[in-house]
Amino acid sequence: MATLRARLLTGLLLAPAALVVAPQAALAQAGDLKGSIELMARAYSKRPPLGDRAKFEEYGELPPGLFISGLDLSARLNPHTSLDFSAFNVGLNNQAYHLRAADLGRLYLNLDYAQTPHLFSTQALTLFGPVGPSSLRIPDATRAALAGAANNTQRAAIIEADLHPQEIEVQRSRSQVNLRWIPRPAWDVRLDYSYEEREGSAPFGAPLNGFNAIELPAPVSTVTQNFSASVQYAGRFSERRRWMVALAYSGSIFDDNIGSITFDNPFRLAPPNGNNGSANEGRVSTAPSNEAHRLTFTGSADLPFSARYVGTASIARMTQNDPFIPYTINASIPGANAVNDLPATTPLADPRVLPASSLQGRIDEVLINNQLTMRLDPKWSLTARARYLEVDNHTPLLRFPAYVLADGTRQNEDRQNLRPAYKRENASLDLGWRPRPGWSLGATGRWENYDRDNRDVDVTNEYTGKLFVDARPRSLPWQGRASLTASARRYETYDNAGNVGAIAIPTGSAVIPNPLMRKFDMANRDRIQVDGSLDFVVRNRFGFSPSASWRSIDYGDEDPHGGDLGLKGEAYWSVGGVLALPVNPRVKVDLSYMHERYARTLINRQRLGGQVCPATPIGAEGCNWGSGVRDNVDTLEASSVFTLRPSRLTLNIAAVYASAQSTTATYALGAAQITSDPQFPAVENRFTRIDAKLDYVVSPRMTVQFAYALERNRMTNWQIDGLQPYMVAIDAAASRSLFLDAFNPNYTAGVFTTRLTARF
């Protein structure tokens, strides 16, 4: 009922908006005011039950009832001034409103307001209730009962009895204004501003006292403001040669209204009593408030010999200086060393023991792009590009002499913040040849260099070559595109311990990455990719467009069972096609199909610290294990249009079927402990949607549409299928963990809709 009231209220609020437009429109001639209103009634033959609704309504509610699903008003106030207003999903949580005012060719003003929810879960269960904006607490009665639980069985009974459902959703509301002003043909001025609020909650995992995972309905309350201003001037050297300069500023301010989230420990309710993993509550930081600003200069000039230069130079800065939360909320954990003139035993919950009160984080960017295009003659063209990007991290280096693991125990291990930074340089040369109209061939050579700080690899160089041919011969009923890309990337030195470990953990640690690991974003890489597509238009617009793509990437060395560890290879191929079939003037059918296959091969090495698989830095090669992740995806779409009565009655029937299977085969290459082969069950997802729409044109000013949609999503996923909030019955090691059981992508929905569109 409240929802209905909200819809009616919004509808009433729309009336003033219409009134704003209407008087202006009244000034216009009667023929210059146009518009339409679309009323929609929705009813379900099968509505997903509340717990199954999250995926179906992920980005917008779909309730039964009567709605204004669309409203358009368009007025020409005079020959050069227009005003357009549109609204969608009025009163629903994904409603949107747009106002466009234009003095054509001179001034454009856009005002927008849109809501986009992200519904994560309608089946989540939690013990927590929000207390204030940043605190998740267990009710006193539940706490008392849990405190008296003698074992897991009793605890499970109490938890199951006291869990309550909580919808987990973030609602985004975005207001935006854009202004474009063209005072003279040579000038172009733009101003943009947007304000976006996000309110709600999202699932978030945090441990307590080491190995106890608590999944939280973490509150979200943020504001993001983006703004930009630019001015451009275009001039002429001569009648045929032009130049342009532009200056642009863009900024972004993100504000987090929460700062940190505190939460109770359902498995430990007594006050903590020292550095022994006895925390009764935890605290996690939230994303810190931050800012970013960028200034960009762009210039272009038409040069002699049909050449054109475009260059940009840009500087940017990202800053963040939110206050640190203390090491822990647990006041019973003392420090290990005297810091900041405080006694060594000062609790680590005291913010004075921190080496700084905030980060003063700052990252500066410099970006320079240069591009020169030349037409050597009517058939040959050349494009040269050079790009320099520097991401320089000026954040201070802070040394933390101790920290607290999951609010439970002090870790006597110095930690420093890692400040990743990099320079990225590219240069490329494209050569194009158009031997005759409709034919285009090209070759590209490209070099890319990364020079990184605080990453495993310092320098990488990658060389890429590409060939392509595009054909659109006028005399033949087809067109085609094909390309071949090959590249090779090599690093100079790979040294995790020296480049990362020595900085992040200056005193060293027993738990270090395997030095044989080659992280795939920096590892040696050989890549080859082939793409091709054809379009046949045979007769009477009968068309067939097959396409295919294949790529293969090899990482690290060529030893498939040892040597370098990590991601060893990726492969992808797809084949598909589109068939356009005009059966007769009244019936048209389109079919499309695509099969995709992804494959990844990983090699890891088990290091447990035992004799068989020692935890030494390299470990034993006999403890290697591998896995192959294979994804098969089939996507089939069909649509048909039946013109039952020309210009009167049309039937559209469409269907989508997308099927995906992901399998992971995990295998031991020696003594590694593999539970089973395959280690993980397959994940399957099948999405089906069938639409039938009957459109009847009552009159030029009115149409009616009757539609039925059947939508079904089915997922089998071992990661979530057996999940319960309290997992003790499934996993003994999880007997002190609590989950939300939030994810449920399965639903079946049958929806009838009727739309009445009236135009005026």
Binding site: G205, T373, Y403, T666
Partner: protein
């Protein structure tokens, strides 16, 4: 190639300078301008539909400057020869200029007409861009003569329909269980990409992939006290923004995602039992929730 020549005659109300600065005339052309009213005599339907567009309203009813004053002939060239002998564009110097896919004129020549007015702003980087290199015509994606789409005069009702004509794999990804709200209409391809060319990778609007993501996900921007280095460099190391069968648009489900790079002694180095806290539900993120970076002094392991 758009060449400007001063015509011998101009239609009533149109200044000779307008003709010299706007109309594309082939070398050797002797055709002259006749005015849009003459065009409407035979092409009444096209004139009517053109008037439903903002460009049509500007060119036909309210030209602001000389580039727009020649109406239809601003783009199609002077029409006197076509009026004298109506026939389709044969690519000759006096022929009316057509923009159909089967036009005898090269794509470059047809695009040059549009770029006469539209080369600056968001088209500044068109020359040399991926789509220009592959010989795409403006009219492959845009329909000038009719209002098919609410904005941008696209050739199909929605931008996604236009882009996925060629990028069919991206269309298939929209139907994955984990997807951004494209098929729901809350965003489009050009929310992130600028199809007319940019100096950035993958035609992104912003300097880096991360800056594109930060436009909406500014909470991931930091800088953080404890950074997760690959996150600072490229969000797409772990996410496929076009759609995935894994939760949160991940390229691979955790824990396998994380084990691509992490082999620290003890639990990251192990295969893991699927019925363990390391594997089910959120995998590694059951505990390491701050995977995008932490600002907590105890956040070195991305727990806090």
């Amino acid at each position: 190639m758009a060449v400007t020549n001063a015509p011998a005659q101009t239609p009533a109300g149109v200044s000779p300078s307008a003709m010299s600065s706007a109309a594309p005339m082939a070398p050797g052309s002797t055709a002259t301008f006749v005015g849009s009213k003459v065009c409407a005599t035979c092409h009444g339907r096209q004139t009517q539909t053109f008037r439903t567009t903002k460009m049509g309203q500007l060119f036909l009813d309210n030209p602001h400057h000389e580039n727009q004053q020649a109406g239809c002939e601003t783009c199609h060239g002077p029409g006197s020869a076509h009026v004298a002998r109506p026939r389709r564009d044969d690519g000759g110097p006096n022929s009316i200029m057509a923009f159909r896919a089967d036009s005898p004129r090269p794509v470059r020549t047809r695009n040059a007409v549009c770029l006469t007015c539209h080369e600056e702003g968001e088209r500044t980087h068109w020359q040399g861009s991926a789509h220009q290199n592959r010989d795409l015509a403006c009219t492959d994606c845009h329909r000038v003569m009719d209002k098919v789409s609410p904005v941008a005069q696209l050739s199909k009702p929605t931008e996604i329909q236009v882009c996925t004509t060629c990028h069919a794999d991206r269309r298939a990804q929209m139907f994955r269980s984990s997807h951004m709200p494209l098929r729901e209409g809350a965003m489009t391809c050009s929310t992130c990409h600028q199809p007319h060319g940019t100096p950035n990778m993958s035609l992104l609007r912003t300097a880096t992939p991360n800056e594109t993501c930060f436009t909406c996900h500014a909470d991931k921007r930091g800088p953080f006290l404890f950074e997760h280095p690959p996150v600072r460099e490229n969000c797409m190391t772990c996410h496929d923004p076009h759609g995935s069968i894994n939760a949160n648009l991940l390229t691979v489900a955790s824990p396998r995602l994380c084990q691509q790079c992490h082999s620290e002694a003890t639990h990251p180095s192990m295969p893991q039992d699927p019925l363990s806290i390391y594997a089910f539900n959120r995998g590694c993120q059951n505990c390491h929730g701050q995977v995008h970076g932490s600002n907590s002094p105890s956040g070195a392991r991305l727990h806090r």
